[in-house]
Structure formats: structure tokens, C-alpha cells
């Protein structure tokens, strides 16, 4: 397997899109199973190719793990060239591995989940299109191609959220996601253009990652900060951070596999990926890093508080996703890129697992999503229960499960790294406690106690089919053991994820050294980080976090298993605070008042005042004028093709004469 075959990875899903998109309806008429064979097969093949390339990459020594494959020239305009090319380095392959892997599992899951839907082929077309866009995003070797994938995942997210578009609420949710993403993308594009024009002023008309990063010192520091902040604003939209996170909870309107694939495992991590990819730029701007860290920590905390009170099973998971993404950004912001990405990896496993399990639950409950109407499902759906419990252990950070390692790494870095602070760490710990609390609240409300659903619904409760449970089992195994890829040194591990990603993130530090006049050597960075201080503080923090998390679980147990009247009492005693949380801090309403209503009023003014009277008037009178002219010119329109040909000829004649004799 040559690295040159990397183009196969995105091409398989694209082929799937073409087949299912163009012929899907016919295929469904003939043989429904062919649709998912094509779709899953395409993603499976992509995964296979990724796996082969990944193995090949692992076989190379660390310094040589970089390969840039240029497929063909895309835009070529004067000095500005953009080509469609793919970058193979540890970061992109790392992302691509779990994007295709988790994507494949969710495709398989969708076979069972969407089995009875009438738009079966459309669903798989969108899923494949999404996979294509996401792979393009991850593998692209330049900003513009990455932006193509970036927009592509946004589009697919819109299409999939409002997949059941006949329901108004779904359509509105899709629109909200799309518009919010557009706001972010707008800033992203501005950042891109600012960067390009400045680099171009120095003769660097290229958007290739390698070119840009190796010339990053050409950018003045304040400009780097501006560009980074603009980029980060784009990332907040895609990765659901404050202030643009509002779309993600609403996005739960889509089918559950979509929530698992797009809004937990892949698309929302695009922002994390992008910030890590641009680690060179971000490292150059400490202020931007600070912003990332603070926004991440605040989001982690803020979303967790909202999740405490939600009753919709998917909403709880959605807010927990926002919260976990906040963790990742916290990690990135304090300079621990590898820790952030490690959390991306583990999170993609356990969050996909949780979503898929919730999908099974919803499926079994005949579409019921309110946890107040569930309960006691443990007996009836053992597989779902056990896998979901594993996922919950992982997300809560119980030692031994994957979430523990990654979350702990981030918290430790937030505490200890030069860019971190104790305050950030403290916010993170608070969020961790709340995470444990609300996740176990979800488990207790759903699987324990008596069933609160109606008789008829109870009658239908059943375990999900094989195609749904098998991905669950695979993911639960990954949720347990995925963490052992990156066991920190403090626990006797080798922190393999960080070592593997070192070549990419060493670059950022190299750049700093270079700017300071030092010599850029990756191995120096490695040597520096290898001199680890004593592990004692790390152990202390670990034990502390674990204890407090267990306390959170215990609280949850007390409130939702033992004294089930207490939550209501608390809510009744603090009505304003409870309502504040239940209504998500009124952020949606605030946005509505501050941004949307004035904008709408202004738009109506533009429509009624400017557009109808001024512009339409101008256009209409212009049209009327040319109508009259047309009446005059109508004479020349004989309708005979050859006369037109003659006049065409005369025109060419004049042009040629101009070029030959005048120019």
C-alpha cells in the first residue's frame, strides 16, 4: 500500500454518495439491503485503507512521518495555486482512524435503527457524504480544501438534523444549526483571507499547511492573535463552544445515529482538530491560547450545569458533549494538544456509545425521549444497560476506564502547565463532578426503579437487533481499552498518544524557538518534556479528582435511588435557580433579544423600505426602459440562424482586427 493511494480514502464514500444518491430509490425498490451494503462497504473500505496506511506510517521512524500527496491542481490563478492534496502525518492519520472507524460502526448501527424509514437510501447518502466531507477535512493538506470539508460537514449536519423535515421543529433545528455554523464559518473565512493577504504580501501565495506554518514568522504578532481568534470563533461554532454552542442541543432533533456520528464523535471535533493543526499559529499567540482555555473551561462548567436538570435523554447527552468539548479546548488552550486529542479519541468512543445506547432506548420506548417516563429498563435490555453503564463509567472518569486517563491528563496539564492555572483546574474539577452526577442521574432514571411508561409502550420494550448491539459491544470494548493507548507516565504507562503526535506538536514549539532565534530541533523539545518532574503532585490530583467524582456519583445515588423526593424539594425551594438551569440560562432567549430581533427588524426595514421602493423601482424602470429599446431592436431578430452567424462573424472579425492591428 503506497501513501499515494491516500485518495482512495475519501473516494469510497463519494462513490457511495453517487450510487446511493443517484440510483438509491431504484435500488431500494429492487433490493433494500444493497443500499446499506454499498454505504457501509464504502466506509468500511475507507477504514481498511486508513488502517493500512496507518500501519505503514507506524513503521516509519518518527521524523519521517510526513507525506504530502498532491492529487491534482484545483485552482490556479496567477501566482496563487491551490491543489487537491492530502497530508499524511500522525495527526491526520490519528483523526482519520477514528473518524472512519467510529463512522463505520455507526453506519452499521444505522442499518438497524433506520431500517423502517422510507427515506432509507437518502439517509445513507447523507451519511456517506458526511464521511467524505469529514475525511476531506481531516486529510486536506491546505486550508482551502479543509474549508471545503468544513463546509461540507456543516451542510451534511444541516441535512441530517432536519432529516425528517416534514416536522417543523426538526426543520427549524436544522436551520438553526446551519445558520449558527455559518456565523462561525464567516469569521473563519475572514481569518483565512486576512492570513492569506498578509502572507501574500511577503510573496507566500499558498494555503498549504506546511507552507503557511513554515512562514508563520512573517506574520506580525498582533495579526497572529487576530487570525487565531477568528479561527477560534469558527471553531466555537463547529465544536459548540460558548458563544455559539446553542445549535448542538437542538440538533438532537435528528436521528440518533446522526447525533452519535456528527454531534458526538466526528464533526464537533473538527474545531479541536483545527486548533491542533494550527498549533504553530496558536503557540505564537499566548493571548489566543488563554482565550481558548478560558472559553473551554467555562463551556465545560456551564454546559454541565444545564445538563443537571434536563429531562430529555438526548439533551443530557448533548450538553455533556458540549461540556466534554469544553474539556478538549481547555486542554488545547493550556498547550496540551496531545491531551486534548487523546480526549477527542476516548470521547468519540464513549460518547458514540452513549448516544447509540440512548438510541436503543428510544427505539425500545417507541420514540419516547423523556427520562421521567422511563425506568426499570435494566432487566429488559441487558446489553444496552451494560454497554451504557460502561460508557457512563468512562465519561465519569472512573479509574480504569478510558475517560479517566484522558480527562485526568487534561486536568493535570491545566494545573501544572505554564499556561494553565489553578482556577482553570478547579472549574474543570467542578465540571467533572457534575458530569458524574448527571450521567448517573441518567442511568438511574432510565434503567433503575420501576417503569413509568404507559402499558402499551411497556409491552413493546425489547432488546435491539444484532446490527445495533454489535456496534455497541465493539464501542464499549473500545471505551474501556481505548484509554490504555495513552496511560500517562505517572501511572507507569508510556503515554503513547502523546509520543505519536509529538512530531506535529513539536512544530509549534520549534516555531517559538525559531522566532526567538534558537535552532529548531524537534528532539530538543522531546528531551525537554522527557525530564518529567516528580509524579507526586499528579498522584495527589488524581486521587482528589477520583474521590470527588465518586462523591458526585454517591450524591446522584442518594438523590435518584434512595430519596427520590429530594430533587423535587430542592427544585421547589430554589425555583428561580432551577428554572434558570432548566431553561439553559436563558441563553437562547438572550440571543433572540440581542441579535435576532434587531436583525429581523432591520431586515424588514431593508425589505419594505429599501428593497421594494428604491431597488425594485430602479430595476423596474430600467426594465421598462429596455423594453422600449427592445421594441426598436426587434427588427434585427429575423430568427434565421445563419444571419446570426454572420453577425457573430462580424464581431469576431472586429475583435481579431483589434488584436492584430491595434494591440
Amino acid at each position: 500500500m503506497k501513501f499515494d493511494l491516500v485518495w482512495l480514502i475519501p473516494i469510497f464514500p463519494l462513490v457511495g454518495v453517487l450510487i446511493n444518491g443517484l440510483l438509491g430509490r431504484r435500488i431500494v425498490e429492487k433490493n433494500k439491503s444493497l443500499v446499506h451494503w454499498i454505504a457501509c462497504g464504502a466506509v468500511g473500505l475507507s477504514f481498511l485503507v486508513t488502517l493500512l496506511l496507518f500501519v505503514k506510517l507506524l513503521g516509519l521512524p518518527a521524523e519521517e512521518r510526513l507525506y504530502d500527496f498532491t492529487w491534482f491542481s484545483w485552482i490556479s490563478s496567477g501566482v496563487f495555486h491551490v491543489s487537491v492534496g492530502y497530508l499524511i502525518d500522525p495527526l491526520s492519520m490519528f483523526m482519520c482512524m477514528f473518524v472512519t472507524g467510529v463512522g463505520f460502526l455507526i453506519h452499521v448501527y444505522s442499518i438497524g435503527y433506520m431500517g423502517h424509514d422510507e427515506s432509507y437510501s437518502r439517509f445513507f447518502t447523507y451519511l456517506n457524504l458526511f464521511m467524505f466531507s469529514m475525511i476531506t477535512l481531516v486529510l486536506a493538506d491546505n486550508f482551502l480544501l479543509m474549508f471545503l470539508g468544513w463546509e461540507g460537514v456543516g451542510l451534511c449536519s444541516y441535512l441530517l438534523i432536519s432529516f425528517w423535515f416534514t416536522d417543523l421543529a426538526n426543520a427549524v433545528a436544522g436551520k438553526k444549526a446551519f445558520v449558527t455554523n455559518r456565523v462561525g464559518d464567516f469569521f473563519f473565512a475572514i481569518g483565512l483571507l486576512v492570513m492569506l493577504t498578509h502572507l501574500g504580501a511577503h510573496g507566500m501565495w499558498s494555503l498549504k499547511f506546511t507552507d503557511v506554518f513554515s512562514h508563520a514568522q512573517l506574520l506580525p504578532p498582533h495579526l497572529v492573535t487576530i487570525v487565531c481568534l477568528l479561527f477560534f470563533l469558527g471553531c466555537t461554532a463547529k465544536s459548540a463552544q460558548i458563544p455559539l454552542y446553542i445549535w448542538l442541543p437542538d440538533a438532537m432533533a435528528g436521528p440518533t445515529p446522526v447525533s452519535a456520528l456528527i454531534h458526538a464523535a466526528t464533526m464537533v471535533t473538527a474545531g479541536v482538530y483545527f486548533v491542533s493543526r494550527c498549533n504553530v499559529l496558536f503557540t505564537m499567540s499566548p493571548f489566543a491560547m488563554q482565550v481558548v482555555a478560558v472559553v473551554g473551561a467555562l463551556t465545560a462548567f456551564f454546559a454541565a450545569t444545564i445538563a443537571l436538570t434536563q429531562n430529555d435523554i438526548k439533551k443530557v447527552l448533548a450538553y455533556s458533549t458540549v461540556s466534554q468539548l469544553g474539556y478538549m479546548f481547555l486542554g488545547l488552550g493550556v498547550g496540551a494538544y496531545a491531551a486534548g486529542l487523546f480526549h477527542v479519541l476516548t470521547h468519540s468512543f464513549f460518547k458514540a456509545l452513549l448516544f447509540l445506547c440512548s438510541g436503543c432506548v428510544i427505539h425500545a420506548m417507541s420514540g419516547e425521549q423523556d427520562m421521567r417516563n422511563m425506568g426499570g429498563l435494566r432487566k429488559k435490555m441487558p446489553v444496552t444497560f451494560i454497554t451504557m453503564l460502561i460508557g457512563t463509567f468512562a465519561i465519569a472518569g472512573i479509574p480504569g476506564f478510558s475517560g479517566f486517563f484522558s480527562k485526568d491528563e487534561i486536568l493535570w496539564q491545566a494545573y501544572s502547565s505554564p499556561q494553565g492555572s489553578h482556577l482553570l483546574w478547579f472549574i474543570g474539577v467542578l465540571a467533572a463532578v457534575m458530569t458524574a452526577f448527571y450521567m448517573f442521574r441518567l442511568i438511574f432514571m432510565t434503567f433503575f426503579n420501576e417503569c413509568r411508561a404507559s402499558e402499551e409502550v411497556q409491552h413493546h420494550i425489547h432488546e435491539a437487533p444484532k446490527s445495533m448491539t454489535i456496534p455497541l459491544m465493539v464501542l464499549s470494548v473500545l471505551s474501556i481499552f481505548g484509554g490504555y493507548l495513552g496511560v500517562p507516565e505517572a501511572l507507569g504507562g508510556a503515554n503513547r498518544v502523546e509520543r505519536f503526535l509529538e512530531p506535529v506538536f513539536g512544530l509549534g514549539k520549534d516555531k517559538l524557538l525559531q522566532a526567538a532565534g534558537g535552532n529548531p530541533l524537534i528532539h530538543r523539545v522531546v528531551a525537554e518534556t522527557a525530564e518529567h518532574p516528580s509524579f507526586a503532585p499528579e498522584y495527589k490530583l488524581m486521587v482528589f479528582t477520583t474521590c470527588i467524582v465518586l462523591a458526585g456519583i454517591f450524591a446522584s445515588y442518594m438523590l435518584y435511588m434512595r430519596k427520590r423526593s429530594v430533587p423535587e424539594t430542592i427544585a421547589a425551594n430554589n425555583p428561580s435557580f432551577y428554572r434558570l438551569l432548566l431553561n439553559k440560562w436563558y441563553v437562547d432567549e438572550l440571543y433572540e433579544k440581542v441579535f435576532i430581533n434587531p436583525l429581523r427588524a432591520f431586515s424588514i426595514f431593508l425589505w419594505k423600505g429599501i428593497d421594494v421602493i428604491v431597488i425594485d423601482g430602479l430595476v423596474n424602470s430600467t426594465a421598462a426602459f429596455f423594453m422600449e429599446c427592445g421594441e426598436v431592436c426587434k427588427v434585427s431578430e429575423s430568427g434565421y440562424v445563419q444571419r446570426y452567424a454572420v453577425s457573430f462573424l462580424v464581431g469576431v472579425f472586429v475583435l481579431i482586427a483589434y488584436f492584430v492591428y491595434v494591440r
Binding site: K634, E637, S638, G639, Y640, V641, Q642, Y644, A645, V646, L649
Partner: protein, 101 residues
């Protein structure tokens, strides 16, 4: 290597002219069509001549593209003629002035 470059170009120009003459004066749609092919051929000749003079493959590639376009044009054009003939029984283009408005 620029031998006879101008001869080729002159030949190309004259052929092109002949094609144009046919296009603007013949009434039989298929012959008009053939004349368009003559024009394309003349252009191809000029392209190849320039390509050789510049020692570059771009001109040759252009010629291949033109051939593909000619093929596409033949497919569509003849389909249209067959359709016209079926509907009206003639392909004399003076009989068609639907573009008149």
C-alpha cells in the same frame, strides 16, 4: 524548427474560411454541421502547428479536447436533426425561425 509554420497557419485560415462560408450559406443543416467540423479541423491544425513551434503538449491536449467536444456536438446535433426531421419532415434551416420574437 519553425519551418513552414506560416504555411500551416495560412492553410488553417483558409480552411477555416471555407468552413465559415459553408456555415453561413448552405441551407442543409447536416452540411452546415459538416462545415462546423471543417472549422474545428482547421483550428486543430493551427493548434498542432503552434504546439510544435512551442514544443509543448498543451496544444495537443487542446486538440484532444476539441475532438471530444466535436464528438459531443455530433451526438447532440444529430439527435436534434433527427427529432426535427421527425416533427417537420425537413432539415432546411431556413424553415426554422423559431428564434424570431
Amino acid at each position: 524548427m519553425n519551418d513552414y509554420q506560416s504555411v500551416y497557419l495560412a492553410l488553417s485560415a483558409i480552411l477555416f474560411g471555407v468552413g465559415v462560408l459553408g456555415v453561413i450559406s448552405r441551407k442543409d443543416a447536416i452540411v452546415v454541421f459538416l462545415c462546423i467540423e471543417i472549422m474545428l479541423g482547421a483550428v486543430n491544425l493551427a493548434f498542432v502547428a503552434f504546439a510544435r513551434a512551442n514544443q509543448s503538449a498543451e496544444g495537443l491536449f487542446m486538440v484532444m479536447c476539441i475532438m471530444a467536444v466535436a464528438g459531443a456536438e455530433a451526438a447532440i446535433g444529430l439527435a436534434i436533426f433527427v427529432l426535427l426531421y421527425r416533427k417537420t419532415g425537413t432539415i432546411n434551416i431556413d424553415k426554422f425561425n423559431l428564434l424570431k420574437w
